[in-house]
């Protein structure tokens, strides 16, 4: 947060804090950056000088790996959508996460993926009429 405060101040300060009698474009961002820097410095000092803080409740390695893989699946969907199209990409994501990462039974996962995909298609395409990105399959 301290670094963000410095970035915001250096980027906006040249735009002017004050213009005549009125605050300029940099006034509010710099005010926020200053406020943030004070808070971050206070937290830093407390961590440095005060008693040791309570340990963060991080999950174990296996759970952390599962969460990481699910997140990687989300990123995979993001990058594969322009190539495959949004509907095929989400179906692939659902199957990968259910069967490959969360180790759910294959038949149940196939049914759950199909139900979710159909539900999404009905709501977003048929009801809301949203144009979804299509891939090389034309889907």
């Amino acid at each position: 947060m301290l670094v963000l405060s410095v970035v915001i101040t250096t980027d906006t300060l040249p735009q002017g804090m004050w213009q005549g009698f009125t605050p300029g474009p940099a006034f509010f961002p710099v005010l926020i950056a200053g406020f943030t820097a004070i808070l971050a410095a206070q937290l830093l000092l407390k961590a440095w000088l005060g008693p040791a803080p309570e340990a963060t409740d991080w999950p174990g390695i296996a759970v952390l790996r599962t969460i990481g893989l699910v997140y990687a699946g989300l990123l995979g969907f993001f990058f594969l959508t322009p190539v495959l199209g949004m509907i095929p990409a989400i179906t692939l994501f659902l199957l990968t996460v259910m069967i490959g990462i969360l180790r759910q039974p294959a038949v149940g996962s196939l049914i759950a993926s199909a139900v979710t995909t159909v539900l999404i298609y009905v709501v977003f395409v048929l009801w809301l009429g949203l144009p979804l990105p299509k891939g090389f399959l034309g889907l």
Binding site: I8, F21, T22, P23, I90, F93, A112, L130
Partner: protein, 498 residues
């Protein structure tokens, strides 16, 4: 009397078939969303907000509000049957509810929670009908300085009352304010913090951030508890209360409802704090305080009445002043803006159908929820038997499509994914997420009213002290910033004395 006339017009709006349909859909979705661990009402509202784009604003807001208070009822199911709070305001219910369920009294716990939520919800709706109009009329006297102070108070109060560390909560709010600065300066039109990226000129939208911070982050966090979901079964015949259980709980509902209403009206203090305060207060009133934590039905009655009353009364500052007091009302406010409605004191006079239709819908919604939660509780409890390994990817999929639908591009999907990770880290580091979202919603009002105020006063900050209402709000803002420091010092002194 004028309020009652307007309320009867509101009933005419709420009872229109289309609005009634979306109301029932909203409360049923709220019930399910509240029951699912790892996704609270604010997340559910953010995920379903894009669906409202094709609706009439009244229908959309009625549905979203239904999810908000429906979630209060639904959270009880998971708390009692699984010992995992469906959402944070059901935390105290899980303490005693699960203990009752282990003793074979799950039905009684669910019944008293439903009756308490219903009675307190209806009472809070009635009070809201009479509180919101005078508050709104009073707020018409507000000008830029009052709006700046009110918005700042909304953010600082959320931080100081939000539990955990107040500094961490204020930092979360500061992050929300920083994100809001990306884009074009609202007065001069100069690009700020865009780093030459054309897509950043439009700024960062509220919706993908809320979907990421609430929806994606909560699902990622709930994956940690994937193996812990073993619901206790309950049957319809177990739902009857004994005369003794009813005698023990009826005044707890009244006390919980009162506490919930007043805590909910305060900016920053939402249903979670209300339920905790009501539970602690009830322990003092209870004839059997030693049972608290081991299955006290009066504890459940108080906590559940308080959280539902607070979820309704939190609408008072949102409707009358345009200042949300909780993360759910922040999403509701964002929905109003996205649907092209300008929130603020003028809302009640400019959009009477929407405001009074919403208020009337809450009376009907609570009746629907009572039906859902008494005879139909075992049916909804069966949702908990669907393995979370199937539900979690489905919720993530809806989150991604919800983010896409905000601007019909993959850019907000990327933003939602980024903030999903940020939100998960915030949860792990015990940094509250509500101040970030509230700050993001309130930032435009905060900045424009601050700069307008200083423009009016030719740069003098005394404008925030010279006007009577401003002076009171300035003192309240100062108190909300100083309070966490004072409370820490008092705690240290007490510990030192002990």
């Amino acid at each position: 009397m004028e309020s009652l006339d307007l309320l009867s017009q509101g009933f005419a709006v709420a009872l229109m078939p289309v609005n009634l349909g979306f109301l029932v859909l909203g409360v049923v979705l709220g019930q399910v969303i509240g029951a699912l661990p790892g996704i609270g009402p604010a997340a559910g509202m953010a995920l379903l907000l894009p669906f409202t784009y094709s609706m009439e604003p009244v229908s959309g807001i009625i549905m979203l509000a239904g999810i908000m208070y429906g979630g209060m009822y639904g959270g009880t199911l998971t708390s009692v049957l699984v010992n995992v709070p469906g959402e944070s305001s059901s935390l105290m219910t899980a303490v005693d509810g699960y203990q009752m369920a282990r003793k074979g009294k799950a039905g009684a716990a669910l019944t008293i929670a439903a009756i308490g939520s219903f009675a307190a919800g209806i009472a809070a709706c009635t009070a809201l009908v009479f509180v919101a109009p005078p508050l709104s009329e009073f707020a018409l006297r507000f000008s830029a300085p009052e709006y700046f102070l009110l918005a700042a108070l909304g953010i600082s109060a959320t931080a100081s009352l939000g539990g955990s560390s107040a500094v961490k909560a204020l930092l979360a709010a500061a992050l929300g304010l920083m994100i809001s600065q990306i884009g074009v300066d609202p007065i001069s039109g100069i690009p700020r913090l865009t780093f030459g990226e054309a897509r950043l000129l439009e700024g960062i939208d509220f919706l993908p951030v809320a979907i990421g911070v609430f929806g994606i982050a909560e699902v990622l966090a709930s994956i940690e508890r994937l193996g812990d979901m073993h619901p206790i079964r309950t049957k319809l015949r177990d739902m009857w209360l004994t005369a003794d259980e009813w005698r023990r709980s009826r005044m707890s509902i009244v006390r919980g409802g009162f506490i919930g209403f007043f805590v909910g009206v305060m900016p920053g203090a939402g249903p979670t704090i209300a339920s905790m305060m009501a539970y602690v207060a009830e322990r003092k009133f209870s004839p059997k305080p030693e049972e608290f934590g081991k299955g006290a039905i009066d504890g459940i009655a108080a906590a559940e009445s308080a959280n539902n009353a607070a979820s309704h009364s939190a609408l008072a500052p949102m409707l009358a002043l345009g200042i949300p007091g909780s993360s759910s009302t922040a999403v509701l406010l964002a929905a109003l803006i996205l649907l092209g409605i300008r929130p603020g004191p003028g809302l009640m006079t400019e959009q009477p159908d929407l405001v009074w239709g919403l208020m009337a819908s809450m009376f009907i919604g609570n009746i629907v929820l009572l039906v859902i939660n008494l005879p139909l509780a075992p049916v909804f409890a069966s949702v908990l038997r669907i393995p979370y390994g199937y539900l979690a990817p489905g919720i993530l999929a809806v989150s991604l499509f919800g983010a896409y639908s905000s601007t019909l591009s993959m850019y907000p999907v990327g933003i939602a994914l980024l903030f999903g990770l940020v939100g998960w880290l915030m949860m792990k580091l015990d940094i509250p997420r509500a101040p970030l979202v509230l700050a993001l919603v309130l930032a435009p009002l905060l900045e424009s009213s601050l700069r307008q105020s200083l423009l009016l006063s030719l740069g003098s900050p005394m404008i925030f002290l010279e006007r009577p209402i401003s002076a009171i709000l300035s003192i309240a803002l100062l108190a909300s910033l100083v309070w966490p420091v004072v409370s820490v010092l008092c705690q240290r002194r007490r510990r030192g004395a002990a």
